[in-house]
Amino acid sequence: MREFELVIIGGGPAGMAAAIAAKENGIDDIVILERDTQLGGILNQCIHNGFGLHTFKEELTGPEYAERYAAKVYELGIHFELGAMVMDISKDKEITVISRTHGAETIRAKAIVLAMGCRERPRGALGIPGFRPQGVYTAGTAQKLVNCEGVIPGKEVVILGSGDIGLIMARRMTLEGAKVKAVVELAPYSSGLKRNIVQCLDDYGIPLMLSHTVVDIKGKRKLEGVFVAAVDEKNRPIEGTEEYFPCDTLLLSCGLIPENELSRSAGVELSPLTNGPTVDESLETSIEGVFACGNVLHVHDLVDFVSEEASRAGKNAADYIKGKPASPGVPLDVKPGNGVRYTVPSRLYTESADDGVHIRFRVTGVFKGASIVVSSGDNELLRRKGRIFVPSEMLDVVVKKENLELASGEIEVRIEEASV
């Protein structure tokens, strides 16, 4: 049985950044297990620009951003295996993997970083009735077909969901000569970044239909069209508002789900709020020595934040391997309060926080002129006012170490709305 000090599952942006950080913190015996035929993960199909503004202060394409990290992986001589699919992780960190080169084998790890990313919510999970013809794709599948396989799925397109991949694909399909008739969004606000709405829809005159959804799919073998209807405040379609859009392609961009089947097999505790592992401030899961970062932990909107988070996970995994003692004491629960959907971490050890602790979260709706408040009991640990908070943008606050010392019991993150 092969043994490694650190096994990183996934060679996308999270896995690469974690590996680099671990190596830079003194761990040499690392393997990255990547299922695809190259490092980079989903970035390889994201050929648009806009990556790296935070990390590199310049606008890169997805493959360029991935290449920066891949180059570092090569340079540092970090071992990685491609076409290697992890099938199972046991509670005692034995990893079952299958690949062309090593066959079916079990690898033992001292520490593991989970960096498997996420997947798209499929049509069935959305409960859209109608036929099941050719021409219905998740936006990411269409992106892969267009950008990597050179296949254009269709000529007349409707997009359901205004997630970032859907918005990017609205532009992409338009540039490839397709007519994108509408982007239809169930919520009264977009689930994508503002800049993507401007650059991908507004610039091309593509209508965004908020508070609408697809209620029927026509065409037995090939997609012929979809019915779109307005929805009420409970997201129920309003009868009589149906409008028919003839189309040969329906793209779905209706949310991403962290891919945690392996975490589950290992017995890692998962959060029903994020669908990712629950972690403490060191990004360690409920299993000692198993860390998580990137989209497998919670869905990010910017890869820069993935890289930053993954670097911390990699460094902490290195510390663990080097024998850093377990955090003392009992962790405090971090809970989402008013207007907050989830927090990462969901528990933290105040004493082991180095200088400050990142808390990342998303809001439940659109808040203008509101404040982020982190508190514990009567003590306010952090307050930050913002112009606008939207669910599509993950928020990141750093609570200072000296403020954390005021915390006891539990910590709450909430939005205080502007008084009208």
Binding site: I98, R100, R132
Partner: protein, 474 residues
């Protein structure tokens, strides 16, 4: 001249073909779709019924009980998935327990082993997720679940192995009776046959009326289903029916042989024989009614919804026999539930009818055994490594949700009657049938199909025929 032409390559056509392939006959199956198992056979409850539900003395009763007895052995011979998981019929109203007793007596009269009525508490002890509203249940230990695609494809492949010819993507346009034989007119030319067997599912009435003046009508009865993730599959271990009442036949909750949870079907008589669309009302009904039987169904784990059409005749029984005004033409029609359960027995029964028309002689060599596509996920590490050493494609996982390798997908397209579409690969290997519903594996699967067919990746279809496409454009 064929001895027998079978119209339709659903589970019935394939079961009949496989049975007839035991004899010295030339047999051809004609199918309008590009694959076997494209109609009712692919969208149903996947249940092997015990046989307590049928009225004693009917063909349904006889063939269901016989079929369900043949299935366990057949599944081993032909290497398709079958599990004897037992079933409950739930009663929610003390006043209705008499109905359960009746059902139980009917089962005994039909020769179903082990059926008995138990209390609600006994049922909950065996199946803890049942709701507290269950007051009594009929328990049928011989009930089972099957992979309907696996079964149909296995029957078809074994028929091919034993000399049956399949003509796919070939729609029957007409049938002419001439002295002592038939001419079957298809879009791709004419076939001569001594005997024609009509196994055309919801279109059996149309095929029947090509040669007969006797009335035969088939109504498509649509059933809508929801399929849940494997996470939800362990919620129940038995198949759970609801007692039929004035309100209808009820909705079943069952694990599938692959470990998903299946809910459905609705029952709506419709006119359009192509209307396999799901509806908001239908899916809502499935959700609502399934919740009466089982507590805590995680509907948010739904991975897909689908609808199938049962071919409902007007006699309340299977319509199987030689047409009175057209000798040599055998209808196998109105094969609604329990058609899947009865299929192997229908094969035997139809072979007897054929034997009453022409003399049947057993072949010297009949290959009764068929080996299915490798299932890597079920192999132990040594076996896996043997496969990967033989062909590294077995070391590349294409469908990560179901753990399906490139090697398995290659097998699916390279076999006799191999898959030519994404749906065909899915039904043979489960690639694309998991929780991401083909999001990740489609491009790779398309590449494998494209290479085999010698076409571009963009030309690979999810379903349907390639030739008709050319025809449409021309």
């Amino acid at each position: 001249m064929y001895d027998v032409v079978i119209v339709g390559a659903g589970v019935i056509g394939c079961a009949v073909a496989r049975e007839l392939s035991k004899y010295q006959l030339s047999v051809c199956v004609v199918e309008r779709e590009s694959d076997v198992c494209e109609g009712t056979s692919k969208a149903n409850s996947a249940i092997i019924h015990a046989g307590f539900d049928c009225v004693p003395g009917t063909l349904k009763a006889k063939l269901n009980v016989r079929g369900s007895k043949l299935l366990p052995e057949l599944s081993k011979l032909l290497d398709f998935e079958f599990k004897n998981n037992g079933a409950f019929v739930l009663c929610f109203d003390k006043e209705q327990i008499g109905g359960l007793e009746e059902l139980c007596e009917r089962g005994k009269a039909n020769g179903v082993d082990g059926v008995r009525v138990i209390s609600g508490d006994e049922a909950r002890a065996m199946e803890p997720a049942l709701t507290d509203d269950v007051v009594a249940a009929l328990y049928a230990p011989t009930s089972g679940i099957v992979c309907p695609f696996g079964m149909t494809i296995a029957l078809a492949e074994n028929a091919v192995k034993n000399g049956v010819e399949f003509r796919l993507s070939t729609e029957v346009k007409g049938i002419k009776k001439t002295d002592g034989s038939f001419t079957v007119l298809t879009e791709k030319g004419e076939l001569e046959a001594r005997i024609v067997i009509n196994a055309a599912g919801v279109y059996a009435d149309k095929i029947h009326s090509m040669v007969s003046n006797e009335k035969l009508s088939i109504i498509p009865r649509r059933g809508e289903y929801m399929l849940l993730d494997k996470d939800a599959g362990c919620l129940v271990s038995h198949t759970i029916f609801q007692q039929p009442t004035k309100m209808g036949k009820g909705i079943l909750v069952t694990p599938t042989v692959h470990g998903n949870l299946l809910l459905g079907p609705t029952a709506d008589d419709i006119e359009d024989k192509e209307d396999t669309a799901t509806t908001r009302q239908g899916l809502d009904k499935v959700r609502q009614m399934a919740g009466l039987s089982v507590k805590g169904i995680p509907f948010n784990k739904t991975i897909t919804g689908f609808a199938g059409l049962r071919a409902v005749g007007d006699t309340h029984d299977f319509i199987i026999g030689e047409c009175k005004d057209c000798k040599g033409f055998i209808d196998v029609a109105g094969i609604e539930s329990p058609g899947l359960s009865s299929a192997p027995a229908i094969g035997e029964y139809v072979a007897e009818i054929v034997g009453s028309i022409i003399t049947l002689e057993k072949k010297e060599t009949f290959y009764a055994v068929r080996k299915g596509i490798t299932r890597m996920a079920e192999l132990n590490p040594e076996e896996k490594n043997r496969m990967i050493a033989r062909d590294p494609a077995y070391g590349t996982i294409v469908c990560r949700c179901e753990g399906i390798t490139e090697g398995e997908i290659k097998e699916a397209v390279e076999r006799p009657l191999g898959a030519t579409t994404l749906d065909g690969v899915k039904r043979r290997t489960r690639a694309g049938m998991g929780r991401c519903q083909a999001g990740f594996c489609s491009p790779k699967t398309m590449a494998v199909i494209a290479e085999k067919l010698g076409i571009g990746i963009g030309d690979v279809k999810k379903n349907g025929c390639y030739e008709s496409e050319v025809g449409e454009d021309a």
